[in-house]
């Protein structure tokens, strides 16, 4: 997940799919949560897993 378009795509699949896996490149889980909070809150039924990969990798 890199752009705002990716965030929009995530919104579209939440509550529709059973499970969604997301990979975000960042060095901070806090920053990722801040960025995705509204999307996370819009989800009621999909299992959502967020993986955070470090920029340095």
């Amino acid at each position: 997940m890199k752009s705002d378009e990716d965030v929009e795509r995530l919104k579209e699949v939440l509550n529709r799919e059973d499970i969604v896996e997301v990979v975000v490149y960042s060095n901070s889980l806090g920053e990722v949560i801040k960025k995705l909070r509204d999307v996370i809150l819009s989800n009621y039924r999909t299992t959502l897993r967020i993986w955070v990969k470090s920029w340095t990798l």
Partner: protein, 490 residues
């Protein structure tokens, strides 16, 4: 020990065996110094020589059971003893129902007093304790979850500061096993997991606790069919435990020396029900089963419409109270609002099988039934709900005044976005005007009844010092309220 399961003192405590005293952990210390307040509300737990608590929060026991069943080396450890394990542990698992005092009633006390409640203070002290700092330095993974997991979404800076490895939001019994396997294999783990319907455990996948739960609490069902918009529980699938599952957990608690406990469900009276009409046969059998093991019983929650229906259609409250056979039984109930118009918008099924237009009458009837049967409710009211008008609050005030003669506590809670409302705005306003009037009416009701209830809630002689201190707090609050009223009048 590979997996330590723990939480700060505000939750790792039995509140002297008196669950209502647990409410004090949701408030800041008033009248008394914090040390004494904490001694009253969160006394230390008895532990064994390994630092394992004699009782632990039920949710932590479930995670412990899931990991033990899957073959992992895991156990619940008292927060004062985790330093013994941080050098060898692979992960510390923490579960909480109010990490940052953002849930009601903590958030309400915070707004009213402008002081941070002791549960949030206690959790912060725990996370900044030497043992937790050492765990972070050693690279032990820190996984947080429980009913308040959502609160981390509002604390991104603390996620980084406290090096949180993973947040799990939802029923974690299945997903924690997968994450534990990854940790032992040295693999990467997801940093945030929302447990959707697919990964919530089915009934047969819910593990049986291995060691005693705090105050003998046993779960009898998960989920709720009423679909109130402000509630997160209603998003879960509905599952009723079998009598066999319940009996196994009762036996675990009794083996651990527990002689009384709480039957936990979002609506105890809907145990075994198909829909929203209580099932007398199942409820009678449930209570007979619990009484076979426990001397004292309490209900965690019940809905007021179920109280009314159970008694008026089947005389069931009286029958259940006869089976329970004790001085009184405590329960939490939700009034939420006195306005039928608002109730229709936010909780249309709360009154079922009755009409939501009759909500205030249902509340009064249920309170009368409970009063006659010595069932003592701690009732909640939600303030600041989306769409609420001043006229709605006036109706709530009128309803609280009609409940004056019924033995109960009534607590206003300030709206926190959860359930279908989780993207709505928080209630953060200062309490004034009509909301202050509501707070005063509730406080007057609560002071009146607390003074009467203290004597038989804490009637055992061993509670004399505790009763004296709580009496002091009640008198102090009463005096402060009088001062506020005098200032308002002048």
């Amino acid at each position: 020990m590979d997996f330590i399961i723990t939480v700060d003192r505000s939750m790792m405590t039995d509140h002297h065996g008196k669950e209502f005293i647990g409410f004090m952990t949701t408030a800041p210390p008033i009248i008394l110094p914090e040390r004494i307040w904490n001694w009253i509300s969160m006394p230390k737990m008895k532990v064994d020589k390994l630092g394992r608590p004699y009782q632990a929060p039920y949710g932590l026991r479930k995670i412990e059971a899931a990991l033990i069943d899957a073959g992992f080396d895991a156990c619940v450890v008292d927060p004062d003893h985790i330093h013994r394990y941080v050098d060898s542990a692979k992960a510390i698992l923490i579960g909480h129902h109010d990490y940052f005092a953002l849930c009601p009633p903590s958030s309400g006390w915070w707004i009213l007093t402008k002081k941070e409640p002791v549960n949030a203070r206690s959790f912060r002290r725990f996370m900044e304790s030497k043992a937790m700092i050492r765990a972070r330095v050693k690279g032990v993974k820190i996984i947080v979850g429980g009913p308040a997991a959502w609160q981390w979404l509002y604390k991104p800076e603390l996620i980084d500061r406290w090096k949180i490895s993973c947040i799990i939001d939802g029923e974690a019994e299945k997903v924690i096993v997968d994450i534990a396997e990854k940790i032992l294999r040295g693999e990467e783990i997801p940093r945030y997991v929302y447990v959707g319907a697919r990964d919530s455990p089915d009934l047969e996948e819910i593990p049986t606790i291995k060691y005693p739960s705090i105050n003998g609490l046993i779960e009898v069902m998960r989920g709720c069919p009423r679909n109130c918009k402000f509630c997160s529980v209603t998003l879960r699938k509905l599952r009723h435990y079998t009598f066999d599952m319940i009996e196994k957990e009762l036996k675990v608690n009794v083996r651990g020396g527990i002689r009384g406990g709480i039957i936990h469900s979002e609506d105890v009276l809907l145990y075994g029900a198909n829909g929203v009409r209580p099932n007398p046969e199942k409820l009678i059998k449930l209570h007979e089963l619990v009484k076979k093991y426990y001397k004292n019983v309490a209900w965690s929650h019940a809905s007021l419409s179920a109280v009314k229906y159970a008694e008026e259609e089947h005389g069931l409250i009286r029958k259940l109270v006869e089976i329970i056979d004790q001085d009184f039984i405590g329960v939490e109930v939700g009034i939420e609002t006195g306005s039928p118009e608002l109730a229709r918008k936010i909780m249309p099924a709360k009154a079922k099988p009755y009409d939501i237009e009759d909500w205030p009458e249902i509340v009064v009837d249920a309170f009368a039934i409970m009063h006659e049967n010595n069932v003592i409710p701690a009732a909640t009211i939600i303030v600041g709900l989306p769409g609420e008008t001043e006229a709605d609050v006036v109706k709530t005030i009128e309803l609280v005044e009609r409940l004056r003669d019924y033995r109960s506590l009534i607590i206003p809670m300030y709206f926190v976005p959860m359930g279908a409302f989780k993207r709505e705005n928080w209630y953060k306003e200062e309490i004034r005007g009509i909301y202050m009037e509501l707070a005063k009416v509730c406080l007057k009701h609560d002071i009146y009844w607390t003074k009467k209830l203290l004597n038989f809630y804490l009637k055992n002689r061993k509670y004399i010092p505790l009763k004296a201190l709580i009496w002091l707090i009640v008198k102090g609050v009463e005096m402060k309220t009088r001062n506020i009223n005098a200032c308002s009048a002048s």
